[in-house]
């Protein structure tokens, strides 16, 4: 057991896990359990647990722990595991740069600026929210426009009230959760407007956070103006057409002091780009193989930095795999085929992407979970996996929605001898 400062002084570490949120914690725990003694977590915030610390609502852990936990409780389970395994970590510490040889410059209050070399890296930096600026919402730029996550942090971690009359743009899960949260704290949530004809959040959150509190959800609507020179005084919402352009004449004005934005999450891949690792234009995260390894050997990715998840349970599962694979990599037990023997997974019929994006049939585990999201709301479709023209599996679904992650399992025995020419596809069918 080595402490963080000793590792930093030594300038070398077995596995560096960048990020101490749910993904980083699960990856570190898995790597340590897989026998790598030398794991270090670098966390930029002042505590471990990441975004879960501000998610004080319940609904976490049903898959992982078979019970319903709050975000902080779920995080605490993994933090305890990391503590029991005596995994060293650095708080208030940020990775400034990293290169393809895994030389990492790291800066923090306790360590100053240091360079260490990691035998393997697990990228677990999470994601950020799409901002008002990126959405180019016209109008004034007063105080009182927050992304839902920033509002959530101010309320749940810092303990402040941020507004009294609220309009929410976007029906992502954090926005839905915040609609309920602000209502419980005495604010009036006037409406949730969603640009798309469907919600970007989980069905259960629509029911529990909006319907239960009589908060109207207006699909195919957006904010077209923000008023107020100092603090928000009001917003205007309009209906949009099929091309998502506001329809003149449909404007409705709301008097409010707060506008929350829940319009999408973006993986924070600055370090990944710095290393020039391949990035999927669809997920915004690294493109990975079945080991969750990027196209740079020894660099793995998991959690929301890889692709935005709907449930933290899947983050934990994915990160566990990344941690185990990073451990196998540093102990030299990872077999990999030549690049041309690795098969890209194709998508069709409304499947937007898969993670992993490619699979090493020769060295894959007996079973590999492939996660994906769909492009639209689909009813009564079949999810099918094709090896060439041959269908390996089919599963009927009642409703598929972009807000919910889907998965299929690939079995090694079914893929034996598969070549890139033959092809492997995940598709939606009628």
């Amino acid at each position: 057991m080595t402490d963080a400062n000793t590792i930093i002084e030594r300038g070398r570490v077995g596995i560096l896990v960048i990020g101490g949120g749910p993904a980083g914690l699960a990856a570190a725990v898995a790597a340590k359990r897989a026998g790598v003694d030398d794991v270090l977590i670098a966390e930029r915030d002042r505590m471990l647990g990441g975004i879960l610390n501000q998610c004080i609502h319940n609904g976490f852990g049903l898959h992982t722990f078979k019970e319903e936990l709050t975000g902080p409780e779920y995080a605490a389970r993994f933090i305890s595991q990391a503590a029991e395994l005596r995994i060293p970590y650095l708080l208030n510490t940020m990775v400034l740069s990293v290169d393809r040889d895994r030389n990492v410059t790291i800066m923090g209050r306790e360590i100053g600026v240091r360079t260490i070399t990691a035998d393997a890296i697990v990228l677990a930096m999470g994601c950020r929210e799409r901002s008002r600026g990126a959405l180019s919402i016209p109008g004034y730029r007063p105080a009182g426009v927050y992304t839902a996550g920033t509002a959530q942090r101010l309320m749940n971690i810092e303990g402040f009230r941020i507004g009294k009359r609220v309009v929410i743009l976007g029906s992502g899960d954090i926005g839905l959760i915040m609609a309920r949260r602000m209502t419980l704290e005495g604010a009036k949530v006037l409406t949730v407007a969603e640009l798309m004809p469907y919600s970007g959040g989980l069905k259960r959150n629509i029911v529990q956070c909006l319907n239960d509190y009589d908060i109207p959800l207006q699909l195919s609507h957006t904010v077209v103006d923000i008023r107020g020179k100092r603090r928000v005084e009001g917003v205007t919402i309009a209906e949009v057409d099929q091309a998502r352009r506001p329809i003149p004449g449909t404007e409705v004005s709301y008097d409010c002091d707060t506008l929350l934005l829940s319009c999408g999450l973006l993986p924070e891949n600055e370090l990944t780009r710095m290393m020039k690792a391949g990035i999927s234009p669809v997920t915004g995260g690294a493109s990975v193989d079945d080991l969750l390894q990027t196209d740079i050997p020894g660099v793995f990715a998991c959690g929301n930095v890889l692709h935005v998840h709907d449930l933290v349970d899947y983050v934990s599962e994915e990160a566990t795999l990344a941690g185990e694979n990073a451990a196998a990599y540093v102990s030299g037990s990872t077999g990999r085929s030549a690049a041309d023997a690795i098969v890209e997974i194709g998508v069709d019929g409304g499947v937007r992407y898969t993670v992993p994006q490619r699979i090493d049939v020769g060295h894959m585990r007996d079973s590999v979970t492939v996660r994906f999201r769909v492009a639209d709301v689909y009813r009564d479709r079949t999810i099918a996996v094709y090896r060439g023209e041959k269908c390996l599996s089919r599963r009927k679904t009642r409703v598929l929605a972009p807000g919910e992650m889907e998965q299929v399992k690939l079995k090694k025995e079914e893929l034996a001898g598969l070549t890139a020419d033959e092809g492997l596809r995940v598709v939606l069918e009628d």
């Binding site: 400034l96 990126a134 016209p138 105080a143």
Partner: protein, 487 residues
């Protein structure tokens, strides 16, 4: 009653430049600003260009102060340690018929005082060889080599800090409501809070409000037309789309839509031009932002508008006469104008400051200060340092190891220093403009709570009083909905 030698109204770049140059003289100077900080009006939202000087009408004040200001800016950047880069500019011509206008600009530049070495006319292919992203439709371009980019926030703060270092006083949230003559030699300036301050000389650097201030003392009325311009700012990832500032041939309402890298490495496109009635109308509109996209797309192929991180509006203070109004007011001796300061106002500010300070010092019979220190050091910029420099800084103050704004790599040390400077940041916007916390791709999503805490600590105010800019822009609220009157 409190008495000063000089009162400057307005702490934008012009007011601060005048203050900085006046500080070289043995004069007691007070700067009054209605907002909570310097650089809160036109100076904060513009193209951030140091114009070469070929555009303004020969013989105009705009032409004179542009050329002088452009030269002086480079010197000042050294003295005051602010971000400045001479990146050069192109003026694009898209049709054979307009070729003549490019030659006109060239000739005007030479007449205005630029040299043949400063200007060159390039063919479309020559221009594209230097800037591969330029449109295939470009038939020729004027290349202005002395054009530069600057950080307008840091420039204004640097001027103000340097003035304070040399004894100038700044008062914020101090809106001037009346100016009256006091005897033959001086004025009494009254503030919104009824406070009154006397001064021998008053300088009007009130930006879009300069007509109101001028008209308080003069029968020769000025009329400022606020002219709104929307901009789109793009991520640093695409900041290298062009290296030079790319203009189109100027039109009736100004220099048209430009595409430029910023001195911090973002990409900026804008502005539109729309006359508005309200001198505080800084609302962007969907139409204007679409217009920026359309026009910028004419200059540069594949403009990366998917990488927009924010949009904003700036107001230019257009005077009806079309030129700057600079100098003594004819019917109010001791009152000096720096009015109608629209483009190239940012460029001209250092020269306007020098000129007006000299005139006022002469009129006052003031002596030069022998102890004037015209230097200022920038707040450490950890993002741009080498690891050795970072380590050395952190050894002095560990706050410089703690990153608060991850997108722009801004540390707690920088944020605290921005508040401790004089004049220092008093608001989120003040911190943002000084050290770039919140300027990056997440637009303050992550750093907002922490920057609020640091402001609260440093200013000794509760979190509920932390503002985005002036009072009224509090980020938090204290009462619940039932107390707030829900309809």
């Amino acid at each position: 009653m409190e008495k000063k030698d000089v009162i400057i109204i307005g702490a934008g770049v012009t007011g601060c430049a005048i203050a900085r140059e006046l500080a070289a003289w043995k004069l007691d100077v007070l700067v009054l600003e209605k907002e909570e900080d310097v650089c809160s009006g036109t100076s904060k939202a513009n193209s951030a260009i140091v114009h070469a000087g070929f555009d303004a009408k020969t013989g105009s004040l705009k032409a004179r102060f542009n050329i002088e200001g452009s030269r002086r800016m480079e010197v000042l950047a050294g003295e005051l340690d602010f971000a400045y880069r001479k990146n050069g500019a192109f003026v694009l011509c898209f049709s054979e018929e307009e070729r003549g206008q490019v030659q006109e600009l060239y000739d005007r530049g030479i007449k205005n005082g630029l040299t043949a070495g400063d200007l060159e006319i390039l063919s479309g292919d020559e221009a594209r060889a230097l800037e591969p992203a330029l449109s295939d439709e470009v038939v020729c371009a004027l290349y202005a080599k002395s054009s530069a980019i600057v950080c307008p926030f840091e420039l204004t703060c640097a001027l103000a800090e340097n003035a304070v270092k040399n004894g100038t006083e700044f008062r914020f949230l101090s809106e001037v409501t009346a100016i009256t003559r006091e005897g033959a030699d001086g004025f009494v300036v009254e503030l919104a809070g009824k406070e009154r301050v006397a001064a021998r000389f008053v300088v009007n650097a009130a930006g879009v409000f300069a007509d109101k201030i001028h008209n308080l003392v003069s029968g020769k009325k000025l009329s400022i037309q606020p002219r709104k311009g929307d901009y789109l700012l793009m991520d640093k990832e695409v900041g290298g789309t062009v290296d030079r500032t790319i203009f189109q041939l100027p039109g009736k309402l100004g220099k048209g839509v430009l595409v430029t890298p910023t001195v911090h490495g973002n990409l900026l496109a804008g502005p539109t031009a729309e006359d508005v009635d309200d001198p505080e109308n800084t609302a962007t509109t969907a139409e204007a932002l679409a217009d920026v996209q359309a026009r910028a797309g004419r200059s540069v192929k594949a403009m990366p508008f998917r990488q927009v991180i924010t949009s904003f509006t700036g107001l230019r203070a257009h005077e009806a006469g079309g030129d700057f109004v600079i100098g003594p007011c004819a019917d109010a001796p001791g009152f000096y104008d720096a009015a109608g300061i629209e483009s190239p106002g940012l460029t001209a500010a250092p020269a306007i400051g020098l000129y007006l300070a000299g005139e006022i010092a002469k009129a006052a019979g003031a002596e030069r200060r022998t102890d004037f220190d015209g230097t200022r050091k920038a707040i450490p910029h950890v993002a741009l340092m080498t690891d050795e420099e970072r380590a050395a800084l952190i050894r002095q103050d560990a706050d410089y190891a703690q990153i608060v704004c991850r997108c722009e790599t801004v540390t707690e040390g920088e944020i605290r220093e921005s508040i401790r400077r004089n004049p220092g940041a008093r608001s989120m916007d003040g911190v943002k403009r000084r050290v770039r916390a919140g300027m990056g791709r997440c637009q303050a999503g992550f750093c907002t709570p922490r920057v609020m805490e640091i402001l609260s600590e440093e200013l000794g105010i509760p979190m509920e009083e932390v503002c985005k800019n002036r009072p009224g822009s509090e980020l938090l609220c204290t009462a619940s909905a039932d107390e707030g009157g829900v309809s």
